[in-house]
Amino acid sequence: MSTTATDTAPATPAETGQGSKFSFGVLQFPGSNSDQDCVNAIEVLGHEAHYVWHKDDQLGHLDAVLVPGGFSYGDYLRAGAIARFSPVMQSLAEFANNGGWVLGICNGFQILCEAGLLPGALIRNRSLQFRSEFVHLATVNHGTPFTRAIPEGALMRVPVAHGEGCYFADETTLSEMEANGQILWQYATADGKVEDHANPNGSVRHIAGICNANKNVAALMPHPERACQGLIGSDDGQWIFRSLIEHMSAKA
């Protein structure tokens, strides 16, 4: 029962006839720290990125929104727990419900789960330590706006940097997600095997990233935005942003 995102995804502002340069919003919470990296990545790809302050509530003019990594509100209580109540998150829920494209990265993933825009939750790494290292990502479903440009079978080498990246959802939810093609990326070894050894945090089913049932909201723990230039170690992360741009162009 797999449908491609292009069939199901509702209209976005990009459809209303903007040029081919897309405008990305990058949310800024107190404690966000990969916000600059997101802007940097989008600019490397030749598109526009704008910061959106957590007290703002205007997102309508944007083509897509990135929820960046960091430690919003110090990650006190639970990662992402406090950020989800900021004004911009109310608007983001609306934006997403209207079919806007949203990509959460690291802390952004945690926030989107806390906000209920994505299923499941992220808990402490099983090592109980922060993990900073490059990992390989295998793409599970190539048929979404976030994965369509990723070459079939290609592994992406991208860094992780998190202390609470262990994805959890109950079995029922997981089966549903699997059936819907909502599991987008899994941790893999250098030769593409999805197995425990490759998993930096203990996530169930080695999940690194997922999307919602509508396939317009996705998130992952690794940092594709920190892997968009060979000079800093890898440009594999570009594939995710390219997917979205390609998808938005096709819709435009």
Binding site: P30, N33, S34, D75, R131, S132, T189, A198
Partner: protein
Amino acid sequence: MSEPKITPELIRQHNLTDEEYQLILEQIGREPNMTELGIFSVMWSEHCSYKNTRPLLKGFPTRTPKVLVPAGEENAGIIDIGDGLAVAFKIESHNHPSAVEPFQGATTGVGGIIRDIFTMGARPICAVNSLRFGKLDSAEVRRLFRGVVAGIGHYGNCFGIPTVAGEVYFDECYEGNPLVNAFCLGVLRHEQIARGAAKGVGNPVFYVGPATGRDGLAGAAFASQDLTEESAEQQRGAVQVGDPFMEKLCMEACLELLATGAVAGIQDMGAAGLTCSTCETAARGGTGIEIELDKVPQRGPGMSPYEIMLSESQERMLIIVHKGREDEVKRIFDKWDLPWAEIGHVTDTGQMVVKHHGEIVADLPAAKLADEAPIYHREAAEPAYLKETRAFDLNSIPDTEDPVTDLNALMAWPTIASKNWVYRQYDYTVRNGTIVHPGSDAAVVRVKADSLPLLPDDAPNRNEPVSEKYLAMSVDGNGSYVYLDPYEGGKIAVAEAARNLACSGAVPLGTTDNLNFGNPHNPELFWQLKEAVRGLADACSHFEAPVTGGNVSLYNQNPKGAIDPTPTVAMVGLIEDPAHITTQWFKNEGDLILLLGDPVDKGDVFQGLGGSAYLKVKHQLKKGLPPRCDLSKEKSLHDALRGWIAQGVVHSAHDCSEGGLAVALAESCISREKARHTSELIGADIHLKEVPGSRLDALLFGEIQGRIVISISPVYLGKVLGQAEILGLPVEQIGTVGGQRLSIKVGERSFEWGLESLHDSWFNTIDRMMQD
């Protein structure tokens, strides 16, 4: 709430001598009250006044045309990196707090040094750390190690600064007294340099950041009974807890405020918090300052003036604002939801005046407090132990019979083993600037437009493109060498840092150092300090790497005695062209391996074994003469290497340090980490000539200085050897890259190591030891 009477006992508890107390009486012409005594005691502590080390530090080279702000003038020195850009960097210790509470001690150490950097108006872009612990087989040492690393990680990760390099040594001399030195580097435009001076009489003084609590009061070693009614525990003060989230906001707000031009002066509240920041800014501004403590945000009720003035609560800043522009402070700090308070103003009296409940509780001459602390020329005497360690005869130990086992043991020795257990807990990719990650000789980061602090909205250069810059950094300091020969050891610490930079392709810009030593009242320990500083100074001059600042941490001892004298040296260098960035691992099958520098010292074939890792691991000895350091040879070696790198010849460069040539070769084969559990291993076939009179252990594991292993494409061999001959540099082809083994032939003898097992013992030893 009456203040206690000043008694000799109280004076002693404040670590002030009778002479110092007399000097206080002379300076202020009356008896100080309790608060004033506290203020003097912290301002005249070694930490703030450098009273024991100032005369020594004068020997450091501090100026070159590139130095924009020299050492000692502000919170950190600043160096020009061209195109209107500059870097601010500094190292600082948090040894004692980390011994008490490793996690919080380390976090607050990182927080403190980051504040020093953004106080200069710079945006911090990376952090580095230098750590020393006792031996890892002790559970207590593991607890400290685990806590410190987690703390450094926590602060940097949350703040959002990549921790890109560092070093860790384990030696029993650090048992009970770990060293935690944290370094931070920031970047800014020349016109963005901020000053910590209270300028402009009448200008308001703001306090920004979280409320003041009784944090860190224990440092003042004070226990008076009737100061407050609180519990004894609270009087002693609480361990400082770092809040990286708060500091991140504080930095963003400060940089935003600095961009408005409303700031006349800015100073962080570090050691001795409000005391130090008020009197230092007044002293620098040639002004006075008056503050009202009732306006200072306080975490609990009933804090005394003494406590408020001496609190070391973290993440607080003092900002002097041009009169009439107060609203900008309020607007920006409200935007970031940060507490602020206007607590006083700049005066023309030269006095630091502190009021509480309408009464003056301190009225002291600011400049005298800040700049006229007593200076001591301590007595120095060559330590007696040196006679014995120097007399050690290497002939008394047999040569190695089993280099295969010995190299395995060295690779698995925690000081040499990979520190991935450490840096995998540090976010080193945030800010999209890290080009060479931890794991090579030096880290390399780039400076790009978003590395810089904000510009004012109307700045003419606001939309000008920024040309990317590449900075390399390394921190080094082998305490055993310094213990065995403080002067040579000091030189080597600097030479090794410079060599690591050269291996990455960088030219040194400047140095910052942390002097971790024992009690300066002990003439032998002071001699160590004096000699080491002389060595550091000579070497820094030689490499044209001026000292831009640093930190002194004395009284590092455990019940068994002082730590090995440990200056840690962090050096920063510049790489002009990203194509020149070089890493330490072998890359291509068929590349030739060259050794730059002599395999052994022909004059003294044992040289390099004294003080070596090999001697410690195999013979449990910390003895002998450590290696000599020939500064001019080193310098020409680095210059030549950079020349070859610039010509595009060099595929890898790795210096020989702990463990000597064999360890350097092994690391070049196995240290390339591609991803989690994915290292790239590549073999090497080495053939070394036997040196007459030399021994195998000296050749393989000796640590003589000035040696670098490089790999090049075969087509360049003639070119390199030819140029080396012209330069008079010893360079030899010693092997080729390739295969799945490391094989070393020495004359007729041949030794082999499988890469998998070499890698396993090097890469996983610390991880395995920490699994408990």
